[in-house]
Symmetry: C2
Subunit: 577 residues, 2 copies
């Protein structure tokens, strides 16, 4: 059971010779032959030549005085082409300098300013909006100022690091300026989304990559989709009649319509899993009280026996369990719930199994690490955010559903004035009515382009490298003086959770005083880091554990020497705390 | 009552001398004095100079052979800086050529291909993803191919037109690559959002611009926020206990928990208002049956007496009315509901009033047209999408709420591990827990930058111009042979709805045969337009009205001669239908 059908996705091209009983069609990749490649490159050169003769030109920078130019002088204004191109090139100059700075280790990570400082106007940077237009020269100053107060490097967040191909993809997306509403307004992007979602489903291990899916504006919304679809599957009449159509079971007078959503969470709080499912419970009308939290082991993984006990208990009390969320990569610990054990229970009790792989889904791309998600092919739905572990620029989150057509059934409102059935092409490509949004931002292109540019193998290398760097950190501090790990053993994901114990606390016996003091250490060190602007790592408390640092690595620019530097900084700043 | 408090927002700077009893503080704009301006420009030159001496350089294009370069050779790779900059410049070349083409009237609007054609690979353009990386040369080909199959000009959609400043803003946003989660990771953007939302609330006319708000991933989500907040206001316990905590009233055995959401909609279908509120009703657990549709007049505006009658009727049946949606600018007709009359009824029955100004909200920026939204300051919440009528690139939608703190109350889950209360700055600036999303894309910067570059007055000109162009179309066709208007009188928004009657149908008496034939005219003409690629305009049926064309103007590049051309094309293509 440790090998999932999806293990086949790397196929023979990479020498993976494992034989599987199940055939995954259309999943192995045809490699472009050299012939094909040179043909394509040849046609590029030719088309570039044609373009030169055609209406396209290689741009030339020209000194331009922007002080007397305004937005109204740009395209579509008459004679607006030259100032437009020059203005965009000037912006690109600012942006490329920022890109340089992002990767320049001699610059500060950040230059922290308090809100009131920025609001009062730092160094002439005025955030206020005015009735009259500013000159393009001032607009360029505004752009530069804005970037000055952005933070090029920040280790703390799950999505960090600037991927150049992804960046180019975003620039192109905004230039194309369309949306994912219908095929006719975004033909290529709609097809790219379809192909990419299919590929992701193949990697999950669903036969033939069949199923459904969408890119949504983030993991929280993707998780919300999963709860909605589950509700629609079990109680389709809720769509028309509302939650009153869900089973009405006598539990107490105040509880008439109870459908439980189950979580894999810590017993007394919801810290261990992502808060977005609890939020979805509240938003969708289940109520957060009806979200039942589960016990986890000390490494943050759900305990399947506790799930089963809680299901039995809930049923006895007259609740109808509906939805189980297994987390693949929790936000703080990076823990992977045992999906196969959970899937067994879900099958036994006929519950919807959702795998929230927003943070950990990326590990599916790695032959070395994907075993941590064993069983994911048994899920009914999966959230997977390429904008986290795979380095794709924000936003890029997918909700993937095993049953085809259910997203449409759940969300369609048949708005005939938006989705005309009598168009001259196959309107099954119009995805708008599947979504809870109307217009949908094009999130696919940057991801598709990165996949083209890196290949599947490039994502694998990215993931393996990030986990290797975090393993380096773990190995370096696990027995080092002044460090305590929050949980024992090697982390499953790139999350490394630890306390730094300053010399003043090292001899102190455990107890309330030490705990209180230790609780204040991480915030103090982080504040100093922000003031210095050298590096930055986040912290949080969790359950009964006082504030601890949590380092995650998802940025492909992070090196072992950054880790060494981080440790040096921690110890330098934390020495006298 | 026709003048709303928000009428003051343009203030003395523009010679608007209207006196109002209510003082709007902080709303009038200080104009930068000339002195200040020259100081800023001076500091730009200086800072530009400093940057030159500093770590920034003016870029130089260099002939680069990308055929042996791959994504892995770009930053953060060693010596990756030069290829990175050259690659980005090459991308910019492709993009600026596309920008040129977008505004070039000699190019086709679109080059339509069916899904299967694109999937089979047009002219070597291969959408499939591979295991192995492609060279950067091929990636550039992919970028060019992608844009070849995008549609530069398309009249049909509410959001169209490419604003150069907005485009620059999007490029910068993706380069900054952060999100709106907390102040510390996006300090400038968080403040820009706050200032801009306040300004929008001032323009709505809420005293001092007080209240709350967020940018969300589109109008449908913004509308969903409004329903959530209303539910939380009237039945806060739904958040914890679920929809069973809403009033349980005996209506019939199958209807235990009824809360009605009221709409301003056509009596038998939901065509007249936006389908997103109905969707929100289904998503949030109300059920779409509990969304009551209202009668509209022949121009698509709700009839207040019908609203009151339906409220009384619903109450008698034991329902609890909760939420009324007034649309400011319906999708098809561009109709504005009479907000003041509706507000009177909402106050009388204590109902939440939401104004869906996704499409029409932009008219608030125009002194000439804002009277159409009179009464909007009495709303409890407002949806306003700058990405529609104001020409801001997608996505840019705001939900604005009059009561401060209610978004936080409704959505917060107090996820301590994400939003640490013990940071060294004022954590009220961390907006993450107000949103249903976790990470939120930075939608504000492009809008803020456009506002800086155009000034409030520039948006006003944009709106006035779009409405003037659509008035030109209306005047041109209203009495022209071969045209029938869908409703009488001048449209309130830029929507012009009409039938084109081909010569073959002109003599035919009204009846089923003519209706059936007329129904097929618009799809045929649109399909021909797409094949020719010259221009494009959308159509839809509505209620008992057969397919008609709906032209909307939101693109500032549309001119009167485009309208003339459209009419010529319609008549040329439609002549023999």
């Amino acid at each position: 059971r440790d090998s999932t059908p999806g293990d086949a996705w790397y196929g023979v091209a990479h020498g993976c010779t494992r034989k599987l009983g199940m055939k995954i069609c259309g999943f192995l990749q045809k490699n472009n032959s050299l012939d094909e490649k040179s043909r394509m490159v040849g046609s590029f050169k030719e088309s570039a030549k044609n373009q030169m003769c055609d209406n396209s030109e290689r741009f030339t920078r020209a000194e331009t005085d922007f002080s007397n130019l305004f937005a109204r002088d740009l395209l579509p204004a008459k004679n607006g082409e030259e100032p437009t191109i020059q203005f965009l090139l000037e912006v690109v100059e600012i942006l490329t300098n920022y890109v340089r700075k992002t990767f320049d280790r001699s610059t500060k990570v950040l230059d922290f300013h308090h809100p009131h400082q920025l609001l009062e106007g730092m160094e002439g940077f005025n955030l206020e909006l005015s009735d009259q237009p500013e000159s393009l020269e001032q607009i360029l100053v505004d752009c530069r100022d804005t970037l000055n107060y952005c933070h090029p490097r920040f280790f703390n967040q799950l999505s960090s690091g600037l991927d150049i191909i992804g960046l180019a993809g975003e620039w192109l997306t905004s230039t194309a300026n369309t949306n994912m509403f219908t095929y006719e307004i975004a033909p290529v992007f709609v097809l790219m989304e379809q192909l990419t979602l299919k590929k992701m489903r193949e990697i999950i291990g669903w036969p033939n990559g069949d199923g459904d899916g969408l890119f949504s504006p983030g993991g929280a919304i993707s998780n919300m989709y999963s709860v909605m679809v589950a509700r629609y599957k079990y109680f389709p009449e809720v769509k028309t009649k509302g939650m009153s159509a869900a089973p009405q079971l006598v539990f107490s007078r105040k509880h008439l319509a109870h459908v439980c959503i189950f979580f894999f969470l810590f017993s007394v709080c919801f810290l261990q899993s992502h808060y977005s499912i609890k939020k979805a419970g509240a938003v969708l009308g289940f109520g957060k009280e009806n979200v039942i939290l589960l016990k986890t082991d000390e490494r943050g993984r759900v305990i399947p026996a506790d799930l089963e006990a809680k299901i039995i208990d809930a049923k006895q009390k007259g609740y109808v369990p509906l939805f189980v969320n297994a987390t693949a990569g929790t936000t703080v610990y990076g823990a992977f719930d045992p999906i196969n054990d959970i899937a067994d229970i879900c099958e036994k009790y006929n519950l919807w199994l959702h795998v929230d792989g927003a943070w950990g889904g990326g590990l599916l791309m790695s032959r070395k690490h994907r075993h941590k998600l064993s069983g994911i092919e048994r899920a009914n739905s999966v959230t997977w955010n390429p904008h986290k572990m795979m380095g794709v620029p924000l936003q890029c989150s997918a909700i993937l559903v095993r049953e085809k057509g259910i997203l449409q059934g759940c969300n369609s409102m048949c708005a005939g004035y938006l989705f005309q059935p009598d168009k001259q092409y196959d309107v099954n490509y119009d995805t708008g009515d599947k979504a809870i949004q109307c217009g949908r931002h094009v999130d696919i292109f940057k991801f598709w382009l990165m996949w083209k540019a890196k290949g599947t193998i490039g994502f694998e290398q990215h993931i393996d490298r990030c986990l290797e760097i975090s393993e380096y950190l773990y190995n370096k501090i696990k027995n080092r003086e002044g460090y305590e790990m929050v949980f024992e053993g090697q982390p499953q994901h790139s999350n490394v959770c630890f306390w730094y114990i300053p010399p003043s606390l090292r001899g102190m016996p455990d107890g309330d005083e030490r705990r209180e003091k230790l609780h204040r250490v991480a915030p103090k060190i982080k504040a100093m880091m922000m003031e210095c602007g050298t590096t930055m790592v986040g912290y949080q408390p969790q359950g009964d554990k006082v504030n601890f640092f949590r380092m995650v690595v998802s940025n492909h620019a992070v090196t072992k020497s950054d880790i060494d530097f981080l440790i040096d900084e921690l110890e330098r700043l934390g020495h006298d705390v």
